[in-house]
Subunit: 265 residues, 2 copies
C-alpha cells in the first residue's frame, strides 16, 4: 500500500484540493483508495460531502481512543473510503502531549487495513504539530503542494527539516516523492521563476542522502480554476462537479503522473 501524506505548514496552498482530487482520480482507475482527514478544519471531509457533525466517529477516536480504522470509515463508493476529521482534533495537540508514542498512533492503526487498499492519502493541517507528524510517521511518501509565489518558498526549508527529522528518528523509509505546483498562474514570470528555482533545488539534491533526493517537481501544474473553489461547496470532487473543467483535466493528469501511468480518463 502506497501511503501518501499531503503536507505543507503554509495555509491555503492546495493540500485539501489536491488530496481530494488526486485521490478521487486514482480511485477512478479501479485502485482502492482510503483517505484520512487529519485536519480539525475537516475541509477534506466537507469536500467529499461528509459533514463533521458532533457525534460522528472520526480519526480523533482512532488517535485518542485506539478505535480501529475500520470502525471510523465511510464508504463513498466501492473504491473510495474516508476516515473523516472532527473539530475535537483541535484539542488533540494538547491532549496527546504526554502520551507515549504520540507520533506513531496513526501508524499503529495501519496493519489492520494494510491489505484492503492500494493507496492511502492523508490530508494534513497547516502546521507541523502532532497531527501532521502522525501523517508523516504513517506515510511511505510525501507530496508537497506549493503556490509558485515568492513568500511560499520561504517556508519550504522548515518543512524539509521536519521531514528529515521524522525520517531520521521515526520513519526511515519516508521519502518526498514530489512537489505539486498549485494555483499556477499560467503565463506569469513569477510562476515560471519560482518553478525553475524549485527544479534547480531538487536537481541539486540528487546525490545527497536527503529524503528529497529523488523528489520531482511534477510536470503537471494545477492551474487556477474557479470550479476547483466551487466544488467543495457542493461536497463534490471536481470530477463529479465539473468533469470537463481545467481543474478536472489538470488533476487527472497529475494523478496519472503520481501513479506513473500514461493518463486517466
Amino acid at each position: 500500500m502506497r501511503r501518501i501524506a499531503v503536507i505543507n505548514q503554509k495555509g491555503g496552498v492546495g493540500k485539501t484540493t489536491s488530496c481530494c482530487n488526486v485521490g478521487a482520480a486514482i480511485a477512478s482507475t479501479g485502485r482502492r483508495v482510503l483517505m484520512i482527514d487529519l485536519d480539525p478544519q475537516a475541509h477534506l471531509s466537507m469536500h467529499l460531502g461528509v459533514d463533521p457533525y458532533p457525534d460522528r466517529t472520526s480519526v480523533y477516536d482512532v488517535l485518542t481512543d485506539n478505535l480501529p480504522l475500520s470502525e471510523a470509515l465511510i464508504r463513498l463508493n466501492d473504491n473510495l473510503h474516508l476516515i473523516p476529521a472532527h473539530i475535537d482534533l483541535a484539542a488533540a495537540e494538547m491532549e496527546l502531549v504526554s502520551v507515549m508514542g504520540r507520533e506513531v498512533l496513526l501508524r499503529d492503526a495501519m496493519p489492520e487495513i494494510a491489505d484492503q487498499y492500494d493507496v492511502l492519502m492523508m490530508d494534513c493541517p497547516p502546521s507541523l504539530g502532532v497531527l501532521t507528524i502522525n501523517g508523516l510517521a504513517a506515510a511511505t511518501e510525501v507530496l508537497i503542494p506549493l503556490q509558485p509565489h515568492f513568500l511560499a518558498l520561504q517556508g519550504v526549508g522548515k518543512l524539509l527539516e521536519t521531514i528529515e527529522l521524522v525520517q531520521k528518528r521515526i520513519n526511515p523509509e519516508l521519502v518526498v516523492s514530489g512537489i505539486i505546483l498549485c494555483m499556477y498562474e499560467a503565463g506569469t514570470r513569477l510562476a515560471a521563476e519560482v518553478t525553475s528555482d524549485l527544479k534547480d533545488f531538487v536537481e541539486s539534491s540528487r546525490d545527497s542522502q536527503k529524503p528529497w533526493s529523488s523528489a520531482k517537481v511534477f510536470d503537471t501544474f494545477i492551474r487556477r480554476n474557479i470550479k476547483l473553489a466551487e466544488s467543495p461547496g457542493y461536497g463534490k470532487t471536481i470530477f463529479d462537479y465539473a468533469q470537463s473543467s481545467n481543474g478536472a483535466i489538470d488533476y487527472a493528469m497529475l494523478a496519472a503522473e503520481v501513479l506513473g501511468i500514461e493518463q486517466i480518463d
Copy 2:
C-alpha cells in the same frame, strides 16, 4: 492613535499583503504609521525590505524582554516605521505560556509611543495563539482579510468567537471594523455569493451587542493581481513596485475607505 490588528487564522488569505499596502497608502497621506510584524514567518518585514537576520532586535525582544518599542523600530521613511518580526517568535508560544499577563505584553508597550503615531497596524500569524491575542489586546479595531471561497467561510465563526472572548475578558473597546475581500476573482459567481453571504451576516448583527455589530464589508475588493505576489520578492510595497497596477489602485482605494476619506493619490 487608531490601533488596527489584521487577523485571520486561515493561512494565505491576504493579511500581510493588506497590512503592508494599506499601511503604506495611509502613510502616503502624511499620517504617521507604525507597523508591527507579529508573525514568526516575518513576511511583513520581508515585504518591506527588512530581512529578519538572526541578531536583529525585533518584537520578540519587546514581548520577552520588555524592550521598549522605540529600541526595536526601523524607520522606512518619515511616516512609515516598522517593528520587525524574528524567527524566535515561533518559540514565544511556549516561552510565554506561564508568564503573568502574557496576553497584554504588547499592549503594555503602547503608552511609550501613543502620541508618536496616528495609525498602528499589526500583522498577525495564521493562528489564534498568544501572538495574535497580543495583537487583539493591543488593538482598538480588527480588520479581517478573507478570500471569497466556500471553505474560507468555515473559519469565520471561530475567529469571531475569539475576538468576542478577548473583548469580554481583556479589551472592552475592541471592535471589528471591517472585512476585506482579498484575491477577489472578479466576475465569478462564487465570489459574488460569498460576498453577499458575508454582507447578510454583517447586516443581521447590526442590533446585537457583538463586537462586529458595526462592521462593514468594504466596498473595495482587492482583485487578483500578479504584481501583488511579485512585490514581496523585491522588498517593496505595491506602490513602489508597480504604482499603476490594479493592485496599487485597489489598495489605495481600500486605504481611503479605511480612513473614511474620498481617495488617496
